[in-house]
């Protein structure tokens, strides 16, 4: 078995936990039903297994190269992307009015997990294209949409996001790329961009760059940034003034070519304004919800595939004998029989499957935004505000630890390139960094999202958690899990209130000095709550007969319990560190380090 993902896990989350059929009953998704989503998932599973996974190791070992003129990428990448394109996947998540299939976002997210797990670096090109197309669909002029949206949805044109510059990464207010207005309404761009994934290659008919730049005279900082659409090939067929300066050589995710690009070394790169002048960053953040769910998903998918590889290995690898019978002539036992190996596997399972639950829950909220009643959509928006930084960073942080455990379960073999688990770890190590580092997510959560709108998003999240606690009330078999989650939810509420109360006096620096720890804490509480939801769903399915998946369902309850016993107690410790707005970090002078 290829151990890419376990279909049962996705089916359980989609159907037993998050009720995909309810989404399909909404008029907005009337065209879809579970049976055809199942059939699409079948195609995704086969494509992941037969087309994408077989060359993942080869792509890692043969990263794209630049000979000064052209970028060379192994031919398996364009071949796989072409198969993916012909099977109709690029358009699955786009709304029907822009040529997409309008699949429920939660279903499209679960389908996408197969490719993220099988060969994320090859898929990177089209994930970026999807985000870029969303941006264009939301903010582009009719002219730009008519020219580029169709081919991007079909996967014929690829897209990139050009935000960072060598001197400005997280600090986007400091970008210097300049956009000069021309009389015909177009702009000419001058500047250099860094970390541009998919920035240059010959795999698509065109590459559409979305570039942040300043128009001369614009206000300083983030309020003076505009967004431009800069195609590699201009409408008249000429090459635009965009040049590849070099490739970045990364730790992992090597198959997605990552570039430094020079715009306007000659007459200036031709660009068209997207959205309003000086509103570039705001435009960019509209697509950030989905982009960040997709980063979380990639992290959770890599964690799951790492866990499954470790699980298979642990069932087969024979080492040692039971502590209770160490007869050297007795046969050795599979390492999964050893308690510490099971600990590593349980932790990896909790992180991987918990992270996947978090991502699909967020995806379902995006469905509520699109298809829910006004009230549901407003509630979903509040929940997404508070959850987005968690969805982006929790799977990136703890999914990576699942990959770390997968290496450890393999022992020395896991440390070699003969086994895929080290590659999964290197690939996943990107996720806490890109699309807003973990530190940035912590600041976003505690500095912006928690206090915003008088705390309404935070309260909405707590209310959702307490709704599940009420549902679980009276189920004796889950009483300990329910109690642990209830305590963690109450604790998060108390700590947050204490920090907010102390903030005006302590000042913004002290309030956010420990924001990353707060992010982990609220992330663990959220995932603990989602484990309770999964345990409840497993109990319902077992009560209905179990249908031959009793072990699988009991495993979900075991994992929920494990998370409550070994992970939720960490939230007590984290709260203790931060609720008094501890200044130890802040007060340590840089020169003492």
């Amino acid at each position: 078995m290829p151990d890419i993902l376990r279909r049962e896990d996705l089916d359980f989350l989609l159907n037993d936990v998050f009720d995909l059929e309810e989404l399909c009953r909404r008029p907005f998704y009337a065209e879809h039903e579970r049976a055809d989503i199942d059939a699409m998932m079948d195609t995704a599973e086969r494509l992941a297994e037969e087309v994408f996974q077989p060359f993942a190791a080869k792509l890692d070992a043969n990263e794209p190269t630049f000979d000064g003129e052209r970028v060379h990428i192994i031919p398996e990448v364009p071949a796989a992307l072409e198969t993916y394109r012909q099977a109709g996947f690029p358009a699955m998540a786009f709304p029907a009015e822009i040529g997409g299939m309008g699949l429920p976002y939660m279903a499209a997210t679960a389908i996408g997990a197969w490719f993220a797990a099988a060969n994320g670096p090859a898929m990177g090109y089209l994930s970026l294209t999807g985000w870029a197309a969303n941006l264009l669909a939301t903010h582009g002029s009719e002219e730009l949409k008519a020219r580029y949206l169709g081919p991007m949805c079909e996967g014929r044109y690829f897209g990139t996001m050009c935000l960072s510059e060598p001197q400005a990464g997280s600090s986007l207010g400091d970008i210097r790329t300049r956009a000069e207005r021309r009389e015909d309404g177009t702009f000419r761009l001058f500047g250099s961009k860094m970390w541009i994934s998919g920035g240059e290659h010959d795999m698509s008919e065109n590459i559409i760059h979305f570039v942040l730049a300043r128009i001369p005279g614009a206000p300083p900082g983030v309020k003076g940034i505009s967004l431009f659409c800069v195609p590699r090939i201009l409408p008249d067929g000429a090459r635009n003034d965009v040049r590849l300066m070099g490739l970045n050589h990364k730790m992992g995710n090597r198959g997605t070519v990552n570039t430094a690009l020079a715009f306007g070394e000659k007459e200036g790169a031709v660009g068209w304004l997207v959205g309003q002048e000086n509103h570039g960053l705001a435009c960019m953040f509209v697509m950030m919800n989905e982009a960040r769910v997709s980063v979380g998903l990639s992290a959770a998918a890599l964690a799951m595939t790492g866990y499954l590889h470790a699980l298979s290995y642990a069932r087969e690898r024979l080492q040692g004998r039971p502590l209770t019978g160490r007869d050297p002539s007795a046969p050795m036992i599979p390492i999964i029989q050893h308690a510490d190996v099971r600990r590593m596997l349980l932790q990896a399972k909790c992180y991987a499957e918990g992270g996947m639950a978090l991502c699909l829950y967020a995806a379902r909220l995006i469905d509520d935004l699109r298809s829910g009643t006004d009230e549901d959509a407003a509630e979903a928006r509040r929940l997404l505000e508070i959850l987005t930084p968690i969805v982006k960073s929790w799977p990136s942080e703890f999914g990576l630890r699942a990959n770390d455990n997968a290496i450890q379960v393999h022992g020395g073999y896991g440390y070699t390139r003969d086994y895929p688990v080290e590659r999964m770890y290197r690939d996943n190590r990107l996720n806490p960094i890109h699309e807003g580092t973990k530190g940035i997510q912590g600041l976003d959560l505690l500095g912006r999202k928690v206090p915003m709108e008088g705390g309404a998003p935070f309260r909405a999240l707590l209310a959702r958690m307490r709704r599940t606690l009420a549902e679980a009330e009276g189920d004796e078999a889950l009483a300990d899990i329910r109690a642990a989650v209830a305590e963690a939810v109450d604790g998060a509420e108390r700590t947050t209130a204490a920090m907010l109360a102390a903030a005006p006096k302590a000042g913004a620096e002290a309030f956010t000095a420990n924001a990353t720890i707060y992010l982990d804490m609220l992330g663990h509480v959220t995932v603990g709550w989602l484990w309770l939801r999964q345990a409840l769903a497993a109990r319902r399915a077992l009560a209905a007969g179990g249908a031959g998946r009793e072990d699988f369902l009991r495993g979900k309850i075991d994992a929920a319990r494990w998370f409550c016993r070994y992970e939720l107690p960490l939230t007590h410790a984290w709260r203790g560190m931060i609720e008094g707005l501890d200044r130890t970090t802040l007060d340590t002078p840089p020169e003492h380090l």
Partner: protein
């Protein structure tokens, strides 16, 4: 020319098969089922004939449980035009024997009057490799089995067959039965837009009684068992020992 393609719903080729404890058969509870891989090849070949303008209509037919509808939907999503399901089994454990399947297919052929039947050479569950041949005999049609290449020339089919030790090319008069081997083609993936379109294609549901065929079993399964576990190998010290073992013990040199 109309092409008829029989397809069977079988245990997925990726699933590790487990024998039931009482030896009565294979455990099919909560196991992933898919279209028999050889039947996929048959469907693909029929669709290619249609794309070349040789075939005018591709009809997929399945005999089995109600859930075989999903398998037919896959055939429709690949590109078949319509489907017929003959509900002949109550649950997955009830396998319809090749002779009963061939009799039902004969009835369907008489009703549909296809110019060609392309079937998989065998189903990967029971590996009987019998239905195509039986159907040809019942109809009195020529047969070309284990096809690795199929060309239609006028009212004949020219078929390359994979036989022991090489390839054999036969020419059969249409209508005929062709059974597909592994190398005939590489089946396409059911694309997402075609999965949606397949929902609107006609799928007719029949019963064996509609065709007057008795599907009750004529064979008795005596026992089912796992293949014997592979024994551990031996390490040889050097090439000389290897050669000697191959010569004297294995008797292959």
């Amino acid at each position: 020319m109309k092409v008829l393609v029989p397809v069977k719903r079988v245990i997925d080729y990726n699933v590790k098969v487990r024998v039931k404890a009482d030896g009565s058969g294979v455990d099919l509870a909560n196991v992933k089922m898919s279209m028999n891989p050889f039947d996929e090849i048959a469907v693909e070949e029929a669709i290619r004939l249609k794309e070349k303008g040789v075939a005018t209509e591709v009809v997929a037919v399945s005999i089995g449980v109600k859930q075989a509808q999903e398998t037919l939907r896959t055939a429709l999503a690949m590109g078949a035009d319509r489907a017929i399901l003959i509900e002949a089994a109550e649950d997955v454990t009830q396998d319809i024997e090749p002779l009963a399947v061939a009799k039902l297919l004969k009835a369907v052929v008489e009703e549909e009057q296809p110019g060609l039947v392309i079937a998989g050479k065998q189903a990967i569950d029971n590996d009987m490799n019998a239905t195509g041949q039986m159907l040809a005999a019942l109809l009195g049609w020529p047969q070309a089995t284990f096809a690795s290449e199929l060309k239609i020339e006028g009212d004949h089919a020219v078929v390359t067959r994979e036989v022991d030790g090489g390839l054999q090319t036969v020419k059969v008069k249409l209508p005929a039965i062709v059974t597909a081997d592994l190398r005939l083609n590489e089946p396409r993936y059911a694309s997402l837009p075609n999965i949606m379109k397949a929902k609107k294609k006609p799928l007719e549901v029949k019963t064996p009684a509609d065709y007057g065929v008795d599907v009750s079993p004529r064979l008795t399964v005596v026992s089912t068992s796992e293949p014997p576990a592979r024994k551990a190998g031996v390490k040889v010290a050097d090439v000389a020992e290897l050669v000697s073992k191959l010569k004297n013990e294995a008797g292959v040199l």
